[in-house]
């Protein structure tokens, strides 16, 4: 994945920085999340602006405009092996509660720095290394260690759906093996590790599988509307472009992290005709669109998706104009959540920069994501296959029960 590698970023940083007119705002967003992160869970109402979702912060770091912070990290990543990366300040602070010789959070943060590695995959790899470095001598001990590790990962960022779901699925997949019953400890441990690595591998390959499945839906001459920056969607489009399909892409500019700009940039590099529009122009241009493809932060039990702010309104517009809405999401994003409406979620907040000072009395909606109910979605491209929304619950029940 050459276009996401750190060296590529370094090569391109000049013209990217030209695009970026508000580097200061971005670097403010990159400030470490406040320690009151856990409190937001129990307190849905207050919106202190410093309660920024770590998940969206990471996304901003990966897909947003490249900042000096990010460049520093990327440079470090180029120079060193992944495992020897210096842990960034917020991770060390976050893991301070669980001071151990080996911290799963540190490990996770190391993995997370890889821009093309999804957060859940990073978590899965971190958990696998928990098994590897474990000094437990009994099965129970190992399982308990894993449990605490995954719990600490989950509590590290409660707003990230894929992180929670990835940890849960890892626990299911790895610890539910018959090996636990009869083999001696070392054999069982290596079996655990094997399954953990396999699961990590499956999760890592998920994007490729989805790209293969999804590109069949792209036909010659079609116009595709995308929203935000989704690595899976990009992979689909790239696969389609490589198989010589001719299509056009409309990118919505997703404020505040300018993901649309970034996405359009990536597509332009693939020589795909691309047009950038602001998300308020979605309804205006929907009649020339043949399909909508979006990614997902999480796929919930109802078959609906939680995704970057604006997905819901695009789905509504598409539904009213009878355009298909496709969702590309890896199966580790399937979460046992069931939001009933938009407010029925753990809020994930992020700063919005309007470019002008906002009067004190004006409230700013800072939620980073919305929930799209299943009736507005046509199909989900997942590594389990192409599913209708109602099958999601079927898969979830089979995964979790």
């Amino acid at each position: 994945m050459w276009w996401r590698s750190a060296s590529f970023i370094l090569d391109r940083n000049d013209n990217l920085l030209q695009d970026d007119s508000v580097p200061k705002a971005e670097s403010r967003m990159l400030s470490p999340p406040s320690s009151s992160m856990a409190e937001t869970l129990h307190n849905p109402n207050p919106i202190p602006i410093n309660n920024i979702s770590a998940y969206y912060q990471t996304r901003a770091a990966h897909h947003g405009v490249v900042t000096s912070d990010w460049l520093a990290q990327a440079q470090a990543a180029v120079g060193h092996d992944q495992d020897t990366l210096p842990s960034d300040p917020d991770s060390s602070r976050n893991s301070s509660s669980s001071e151990k010789p080996f911290s799963v959070i540190d490990e996770f943060n190391n993995w997370r720095k890889q821009p093309d590695l999804a957060e859940a995959v990073a978590a899965i790899r971190a958990l696998a290394s928990v098994i590897r470095s474990s000094e437990a001598t009994t099965m129970m001990e190992l399982q308990r260690e894993l449990k605490t590790a995954s719990d600490s990962l989950k509590s590290w960022d409660t707003t990230s759906i894929s992180l929670t779901a990835g940890c849960d699925l890892f626990m299911r997949y790895v610890t539910r093996t018959s090996a636990v019953e009869y083999e001696d400890f070392n054999a069982a441990k290596s079996r655990f590790l094997e399954r953990a690595l396999k699961f990590g591998e499956i999760s890592y390959k998920a994007r490729k599988i989805i790209a293969m499945l999804g590109q069949d839906f792209i036909f010659n001459g079609c116009t595709i509307l995308v929203h935000g920056f989704s690595r899976v969607v990009l992979e689909i489009l790239k696969t389609a472009a490589q198989s010589k399909k001719v299509f056009r892409v409309l990118c919505t500019e997703g404020r505040p992290d300018r993901t649309g700009l970034r996405f359009a940039n990536e597509l332009a590099k693939l020589d795909v005709p691309v047009k950038l529009l602001i998300d308020s122009a979605v309804a205006y241009s929907m009649d020339e669109v043949d399909m909508v493809i979006v990614g997902a932060d999480g796929v919930v039990e109802s078959g609906g998706i939680i995704n970057m702010m604006g997905t819901y309104q695009i789905a509504l517009v598409a539904k009213s104009m009878d355009k298909p809405v496709y969702v590309a999401a890896e199966s580790y994003k399937f979460a046992r959540l069931y939001p009933l409406d938009q407010k029925d979620m753990v809020p994930a907040l992020r700063a919005v920069d309007f470019g002008v000072p906002i009067p004190k009395k004006v409230e700013v909606e800072t939620s980073a994501r919305d929930y799209t109910p299943p009736q507005y979605l046509t199909l989900l491209f997942t590594d389990l296959g192409v599913l209708t929304p109602s099958v999601v619950s079927d898969e979830l029940i089979q995964l979790y029960l």
Binding site: R336, L340, S393, I397, Q398
Partner: protein, 645 residues
């Protein structure tokens, strides 16, 4: 009317009418039709038209039927041949709609009943019963042609029908006499002229009037009134439909019923079968006179007639264990209501009876205990139709009995069963409720206004738990006559300090604007996501959906059922019609007091309705929060994992 019901309505000669209808109109319309026909025309041609002309909704007959009648039937035999397939379906008015599997509901008495039939049925007819399981459209014409000559419909003789009415015997007896007249009745029918037919109509009308007078007199609760009160209903049938209905004769068709597994649910508009079932029944029940046409297939008995009768019999009913007997009486009296309460009471009664049970010598415990349970169940059905949850629980008990290892000693086997049943009660009902509460409480936020309808035990637990957790919310309880179950819930919630509002269901559309969540209980959730629940639930769910309020249904997984049901007609329970015609303590509005026996007044007190899954946002069950589309997954996994295979 939606198209899916059309073929059924056409094929069934007893045209089901939507809503209420007035018998006089019908009586007039039939002769009208017939006089307009030329005497030589085949009678079939006036059947569907006349049937439809009665019905407020016109449904064209399926094309293949008319094709068959116009093309292939020789003139002489046309009436008989064409009628019999029709008649066959009138005999059994269940034509399966959808893929539902009613075997769980077939009471043992019903089962015995069918098996008797099978034993007596003659060989060559056997094949005709086979096509009945759903694809009647294809089997219909074939059935008409293969009809052997000896099964010519016999009972057209409306003369004999009239005599039946006058002597006040029930339809069953009428059929039998028809059979005996069979040989001469057929030629008689073919010779019927227009004038004769008219004479017949007159005779029927006279008979009806006579029987009606009698019915009004004999409204007492004695067993005599069973017959006298049944006559008018039946007479209504015969008067209006006699011309075609009687031709086929019910009996030979009944014999056709083959060993169909699954057994259909008892259809109470099939008089002959009802008669037989009544003979076996322990409980003598008085049929309510005027039943709504669309709901004839459901049992409806006069309230209060069963209890005294049963009490008298307490010591004569050797076959029913006293504990079961007690539970049955309490069902009857309405002491126990609500799916969970009824189910637990029944299981505990079974436990008690199992504890005191000893298998007779030379009989295996597995076999004998199953028949025992079957008699108990049929007794309970007589007291009140089973709920779906009870059906599932009974199935569980029976499988557990059947799966008992033969090596177990008697006491071990009993112990095993008792603990299994205990396990079921604890895990599937009590613990399930706790899990549901845990899930549902997460959906209650501060400042919410929660609406619930009627009184559901699960919803009550949720509200109490949310209150315990210190959530600030308000409750709106919607309620409806005649049961007013919500009042008790209201009382308990207010007692706990929850702020509540109380509205009748008439006010739901008004109050829905301020509601943020609707929590509903369910009697059952069916495989297509349809929620089968207290009547009125569908209305509340639809209003909520229209207002964009999420509807949350709370239902334990043991109440899930793999049947598919599209409406609330084919399977329901009728309550006491007096309950809706009278308002206690309000003498000034009891306008229906003296006309409740009027033939033109039909009171419909439904107990359940079906809420389509479109109106349900979420189902909370012991397996978590699932969309209604995932009910079949739960049903599938639930079975695989444990109980009934």
């Amino acid at each position: 009317m939606d198209p899916r019901r059309a073929p059924r309505t056409v094929i069934d000669p007893k045209v089901r009418q939507v809503g209420f209808f007035a018998p006089p109109d019908r009586a007039q319309s039939v002769p009208l039709q017939q006089t307009s026909d030329s005497p030589s025309s085949p009678p079939l041609s006036d059947i569907s038209p006349s049937g439809n002309s009665i019905s407020p909704v016109m449904i064209p007959p399926p094309r293949h039927l008319s094709d068959v009648s116009s093309r292939t039937i020789p003139a002489g035999f046309a009436p008989n041949r064409l009628l019999s397939p029709l008649q066959r379906f009138s005999g059994e008015s269940i034509i399966p709609v959808g893929s539902y599997n009613p075997s769980e509901f077939a009471s043992p008495s019903v089962r015995d009943f069918f098996e008797d039939k099978n034993a007596r049925s003659p060989g060559p007819r056997r094949s005709r019963g086979l096509g009945e399981s759903g694809k009647f459209a294809s089997s219909l014409p074939a059935g008409g042609f293969e009809l052997p000559p000896e099964v010519k419909p016999k009972s057209l003789t409306t003369v004999s029908v009239v005599s039946n009415l006058q002597t006040n015997v029930t339809e069953k007896a009428g059929d039998q006499s028809n059979d005996s007249h069979g040989a001469n009745s057929k030629p008689l029918k073919e010779k019927l002229s227009k004038a004769e037919r008219r004479a017949l109509q007159e005779a029927q009308r006279a008979a009806k009037a006579a029987a009606k007078a009698e019915g009004n007199v004999g409204s007492g609760m004695s067993t005599k009134s069973v017959k006298s009160s049944k006559a008018p209903t039946q007479k209504k049938d015969t008067a209006s439909i006699a011309t075609h209905e009687k031709r086929g004769g019910d009996r030979p068709i009944d014999k056709d019923r083959k060993k169909e597994i699954p057994h259909p649910r008892m259809q109470f508009d099939d008089m002959s079968r009802v008669e037989k079932a009544n003979k076996r029944a322990v409980v003598k029940q008085t049929e309510v006179r005027n039943r709504v046409e669309l709901f004839r297939h459901l049992p409806q008995y006069e309230h209060g007639t069963k209890l005294p009768d049963l009490e008298k019999k307490l010591f004569r009913l050797g076959s029913v264990h006293p504990a079961v007997y007690k539970v049955g009486l309490r069902y009857l009296a309405g002491d126990i209501s609500g799916g969970n309460a009824r189910c637990i009471a029944m299981l505990q009664a079974f436990q008690e009876s199992i504890m005191e049970y000893t298998p007779p010598p030379e009989k295996a415990l597995n076999r004998d205990l199953t028949t025992k349970i079957n008699t108990y169940v049929s007794f309970l059905i007589n007291c009140r139709p089973l709920s779906i949850s009870m059906g599932n629980a009974i199935k569980f008990v029976k499988t557990r009995i059947a799966n008992l290892p033969l090596t177990l000693s008697e006491s071990e086997a009993k112990q095993n069963l008792l603990s299994e049943i205990n396990h079921f009660i604890n895990e599937k009902i009590i613990l399930a409720d706790k899990v549901i509460v845990r899930h549902a409480v997460t959906k209650v936020r501060d400042g919410d206004v929660l609406l619930t309808y009627g009184s559901s035990s699960a919803v009550e637990l949720i509200l109490l738990r949310a209150h315990e957790l210190g959530k600030k919310f308000r409750v709106v309880i919607a309620d409806s006559r005649p049961k007013l179950e919500g009042r008790l819930l209201l009382r308990r919630l207010v007692g706990k300090g929850i702020s509540c509002s109380y509205v009748y269901i008439n006010g739901v559309s008004y109050i829905m604007d301020e509601v943020s969540r609707v929590f509903l209980g369910a009697s059952s959730v069916l495989a297509n996501g349809t929620v089968y629940s207290r009547v009125g639930t569908a209305c509340v769910a639809m209003v909520a959906n229209a207002c964009g309020v999420p509807v949350i249904v709370c239902c334990e997984a043991y109440k899930f059922h793999e049947r598919v049901q599209l409406d609330s007609i084919c399977c329901n329970e009728l309550g006491d019609p007096d309950a809706i015609s009278k308002v206690h303590g309000r003498e000034e509005i009891n306008h229906l007091k003296d006309i409740s026996n009027d033939e033109n007044l039909q009171l419909l007190n439904l107990t359940y309705d079906a809420t389509p899954s479109d109106y349900v946002s979420m189902i909370i069950t012991d397996y978590g929060m699932i969309p209604p589309t995932s009910v079949p997954v739960i049903v599938r996994e639930f079975r695989k994992e444990q109980i009934w295979i």
